[in-house]
């Protein structure tokens, strides 16, 4: 029984798995795509392991949907190939690939009941009636829609429709599940709930999945790994933790969560930001003396103190509180830091910019810090307070120009 295999996959019998190497379920090799003269995808490569969930995260127009459609066979790549469980399917039409696509609108067949929708893949494969009935029953139980089996899609909620769409693909034991912006049409509360539900379901059936989203929170929660796509390129691919804490470039840093970015120069194994010197940690030997770099840090990595900077934190500057904003779990503090003073974190001195009336000068920068609620309650900060600004962790990135859309020049 195909569907049974799909639902509870036995430990893979592939010899690779025994040796501990993950089985590659889907790979995309050197895919590029152009529409006319505009290049929308440029040399896209990634693998998805058996049972793994990969999230393609990018803004609209980044090309992430095109990648999905190429894997599904709804779009042809310009170069490169698509492999499903080791088989090159690039030349196969969509119907022969056996991938499951969960469309953004779910694309349930409006004139079929829930059970007809789920059984569709088996009916067109001309399976025996009894087999179809059994599989549909199992899948209805799996997605907990037994009492809705006779309903039409228009009578279901968004979340229920989505579960029907998933069950409809699981019926024919798909090679991989492709989710196109699966939660785009739902309200914020249902979204969070459904994310966890789908995550649990995928664990149960052990089918590899590729999600498409522009929502970074969704990406962090859904993905075993995240690929950040920007203008047709993969900027970075890694676990949510890697991508968040070690962004490969400024785009990734700002697209995935909030980030403060300060321009600096490498000097004496430190980064000179304004006149503050932040020592370069291990692993940044690649930057040479005098190289322009960006110091990137998350709001939650900033420590603010009225006296001495928190022990163990690199002091970057002193600053003045410009705004405080309580947003539930934490407090968001806007601080304007003074980069003109020579690395002193003594808060008793008057910052330079306060005496000059030129707050937008190069030496004063606004940054955002967040503080957990207990800390915010223990040490209150009010607008105008002078604080020492420390960093518990940060990333140093080479200062490179942002990516531009590649297209052939009109005359080639």
């Amino acid at each position: 029984m195909q569907a049974k295999q799909a639902m509870v996959k036995e430990p893979s019998t592939n010899p690779d798995a025994k040796r501990g190497a993950p089985v590659v379920a889907t790979s995309v090799v050197g895919i590029s795509k152009r529409f006319g003269k505009t290049s929308v995808l440029e040399n896209i490569n990634f693998d998805v392991a058996e049972g793994e969930a990969l999230v393609l995260l990018g803004a609209s127009g980044s090309g992430k949907t095109t990648i999905l459609r190429i894997i599904a066979g709804l779009e042809q790549p310009y170069t490169g190939k698509v492999m499903l469980h080791g088989k090159d399917v690039t030349e196969l039409p969509a119907r022969e690939r056996g991938v499951g696509v969960i469309f953004q609108s779910y694309a349930l067949f409006p004139k079929m009941t829930v059970e007809k929708n789920i059984g569709y893949g088996l009916r067109i494969r001309r399976r025996k009636r009894r087999e179809i009935r059994e599989t549909v029953n199992e899948l209805l139980a799996l997605v907990q829609l037994e009492e809705h089996r006779k309903k039409y899609p228009s009578q279901l909620s968004g979340g229920q429709q989505q579960r029907v769409a998933i069950a409809r693909t699981l019926a024919y034991n798909p090679e991989v599940l492709l989710f196109d912006e699966p939660f785009g049409a739902l309200d914020a509360q249902t979204r969070g709930h459904l994310r966890r539900e789908i995550r649990a379901l995928l664990r149960k059936v052990n089918v590899p999945a590729i999600f498409i989203t522009h929502d970074q929170e969704e990406a962090l929660e859904l993905g075993d790994r995240i690929a950040v796509i920007n203008l047709g390129h993969i900027e970075q691919i890694g676990t949510p933790f890697e991508v968040y804490t070690k962004p490969a470039n400024e785009y990734v840093a700002t697209f995935l969560g909030a980030a403060n970015i300060l321009a600096g120069v490498v000097k004496d194994r430190s980064v000179e930001v304004g006149s503050a010197l932040v020592p370069l940690p291990e692993g940044y030997e690649k930057y040479h003396e005098g190289q322009k770099v960006k110091l990137v840090f998350r709001p939650e990595d900033v420590s603010l103190s009225k006296g001495e900077v928190t022990p163990g934190h690199a002091c970057i500057a002193k600053g003045i509180v410009e705004s405080t904003n309580f947003v539930g779990a934490y407090e968001r503090v806007g601080v304007r830091i003074d980069l003109s003073d020579s690395g002193s974190c003594d808060t008793n001195e008057t910052p330079f910019y306060l005496t000059t009336q030129t707050p937008e000068s190069q030496t004063s920068k606004p940054i955002i810090a967040t503080r957990p609620k207990p800390e915010a309650t223990a040490t209150r900060l009010t607008i105008g307070d002078r604080v020492a600004v420390g960093l518990s962790s940060f990333t140093v990135l080479a200062d490179v120009a942002p990516r531009k859309r590649e297209s052939e020049s009109p005359r080639g």
């Binding site: 119907r95 696509v101 694309a107 409006p110 569709y120 009578q155």
Partner: protein, 271 residues
């Protein structure tokens, strides 16, 4: 204190004006068919209706309209599929051409068919020596009906195609269906309502066709005389009752079809 609402004079007044205006224009002409047709009692009405030539005319109208409708529904479905799924040079010109026959006077349509298929027509003159005659037969009536009702089914089906989400067909393809399976199981069910109303519209229009039919059929009683032609012929002969009986049938028939169209639109499209 109960709140007293103002009485809006405009409401009964405007409804009254509307009904009074429709009296001489629509209601009274229809009513007179029934008043005249039944003035000499139901038995004479029944006798007029059952005259062999009258029965033949009604049958011929139904049969020719049926084949014209069958053809135009299939054609309209096919044309709508091609013209909403593919974008090509000359697409809009084709859409306009398909819709053109409704704008052409029906007498012109019949005349055009004669010039093409008639014994001395552009094509007809090559067929005539082989004993093939299309004009002045039931086939000619079907051809004329097809021509004048050409865009009706297409016009109803095409908008449904246009608004149908492409992702349904894409979903069907990724699930493993062939194009034919997708069309049969996914596309067609969504078109059910449009196909039925397109067919009814075409049939009703074909049954009533007069202008083109009188030119191409030859108007031979008992051979190529359709119901509207029968009414016209009997009226010219002064047999008002005979004409009247058929007129009542045709009026009731079109009333029935439009009621079905009006009230059935909703249940045909329920999910």
């Amino acid at each position: 204190m109960r709140h007293v609402r103002g009485f809006d004079v405009a409401r009964p007044l405007s409804i009254g004006v509307l009904v009074i205006m429709m009296m001489p224009l629509v209601f009274l002409p229809l009513a007179s068919i029934f008043i005249f047709g039944t003035s000499k009692g139901l038995t004479s009405f029944w006798a007029a209706l059952m005259a062999p030539e009258a029965v033949f005319a009604l049958k011929l109208s139904m049969v020719t309209s049926f084949w014209a409708t069958l053809f135009n529904v299939f054609f309209g479905l096919f044309a709508a599929y091609v013209l909403s799924r593919y974008n090509f040079w000359g697409r809009n010109a084709l859409i306009v051409t398909i819709s053109l026959p409704t704008a052409i006077p029906t007498a012109v349509a019949g005349f055009a068919l004669l010039l093409l298929w008639g014994p001395y027509g552009i094509l007809g003159r090559f067929l005539a020596p082989h004993g093939i005659q299309t004009m002045f037969t039931a086939g000619a009536i079907i051809l004329a009906n097809i021509f004048v009702t050409f865009p009706l089914a297409f016009g109803v089906i095409k908008p449904v195609f246009d608004t149908m989400s492409r992702s349904l067909e894409e979903a069907s393809a990724t699930i493993g269906a062939t194009r034919v399976q997708t069309f049969w199981h996914v596309t067609l069910p969504s078109l059910r309502g449009a196909i039925v109303s397109g067919a009814l519209l075409t049939f009703a229009r074909a049954v009533g066709e007069f202008g083109s039919t009188i030119l191409v059929s030859g108007n031979l009683a008992g051979r190529t005389q359709t119901a509207p032609l029968y009414i016209f012929a009997k009226f010219n002969e002064g047999q008002i009752e005979a004409a009247n009986a058929i007129a009542i049938v045709l009026a009731l028939f079109s009333f029935l079809i439009f009621s079905v169209l009006f009230f059935a639109r909703d249940w045909l499209d329920v999910d």
